[in-house]
């Protein structure tokens, strides 16, 4: 909804705004692209900002990839379903993903996103500011709840703390989107011997259980 309002202020037509949500379907990237336009930037700069904002989907896609089956085209299309919330929701503690949960929650998110954009674009003027409703706290709170669920081991907590620290240090320094991408490198702690042994032990335990 707020995207619909913001895009109008940046000079997009109602139709352009709704089409953008329907074919791009990446909230934060759309906001950054439109913010560049609103500041008087060109299309090239807007697209570059969207690409940087979306760069976090690279590590997310890498993590999701082993859970996908089928040929290259099918995998590439399934990869389009990745958005932050459904990716986080579908992640299992063993590193695999619940594909159907991810597709289902993304489908619901898509319908809500496009409908919300349309409402914001057409009736934005009368709705007031979404920030007054505290809606900007919704997603970080959701991610925090998933993180508390996810980070059971001491190692996962350490990686989470490191990821948050990297993001905070980079927020004032790097363009939007880059802090979250670079924070994913905190997961390279998994290359240490202890982390590899933990995965091996779990795989053996699962093998015996079968």
């Amino acid at each position: 909804m707020s995207f619909g309002v913001v895009a109008q202020q940046a000079g997009l037509s109602q139709l352009e705004t709704i089409v953008m949500s329907a074919i791009v379907f990446a909230g934060s990237a759309q906001f950054s692209a439109v913010a560049i336009l609103a500041q008087g930037g060109g299309a090239g700069a807007a697209i570059a900002a969207a690409a940087l904002m979306n760069s976090r989907f690279l590590p997310m896609g890498v993590a999701f990839a082993p859970s996908l089956r089928g040929g290259p085209l099918k995998r590439a299309l399934q990869g389009q379903a990745v958005v932050d919330a459904s990716w986080a929701l579908a992640a299992r503690p063993d590193g695999s993903f619940d594909r159907m949960l991810l597709f289902g929650s993304s489908a619901a998110a898509y319908v809500t996103w496009v409908t919300g954009t349309a409402i914001g674009a057409v009736w934005g003027g009368v709705l007031g500011d979404p920030e007054d409703l505290g809606l900007d706290a919704l997603f970080p709170a959701f991610f925090l709840a998933l993180l508390l669920n996810e980070a059971r081991s001491g190692r996962a907590r350490g990686v989470a703390a490191l990821g948050a620290l990297i993001a905070l240090v980079l927020v004032p320094l790097a363009p939007a989107g880059v802090p979250v991408l670079v924070a994913s490198f905190a997961a390279l702690i998994g290359l240490t011997r202890g982390a590899r042994e933990a995965v091996l032990q779990r795989q053996e335990a699962e093998g015996e259980a079968r």
């Binding site: 791009v24 299309a43 989907f57 986080a88 505290g134 709170a141 905070l168 490198f185």
Partner: protein
Amino acid sequence: MIAGCALVTFAIKAAGPLALGGRELPTWFTSVVVLLAPALLAALVASQALADGDRLAIGADTAGVAAGGLAAWRTGSIILCVLLAPAVTAVLRAL
């Protein structure tokens, strides 16, 4: 501009599954992937709740997210967390 954004988004989302899908991966890779979720989630929380654009900022949303997090930690309920966080934020802004 819209078509360009759609194309780069498609390419970025396709890259991981295209390069790596459909086969077994070595243990070292799995051990990194397992830790990607906590790293990315924590970075998303930090960059959204503790910053405003490219500036570090603590505000009503920070307090709301903290309240939601506390509720999730004490009760284990994600629903309670996502209801409480915007509510606390909105009340603080209305004061």
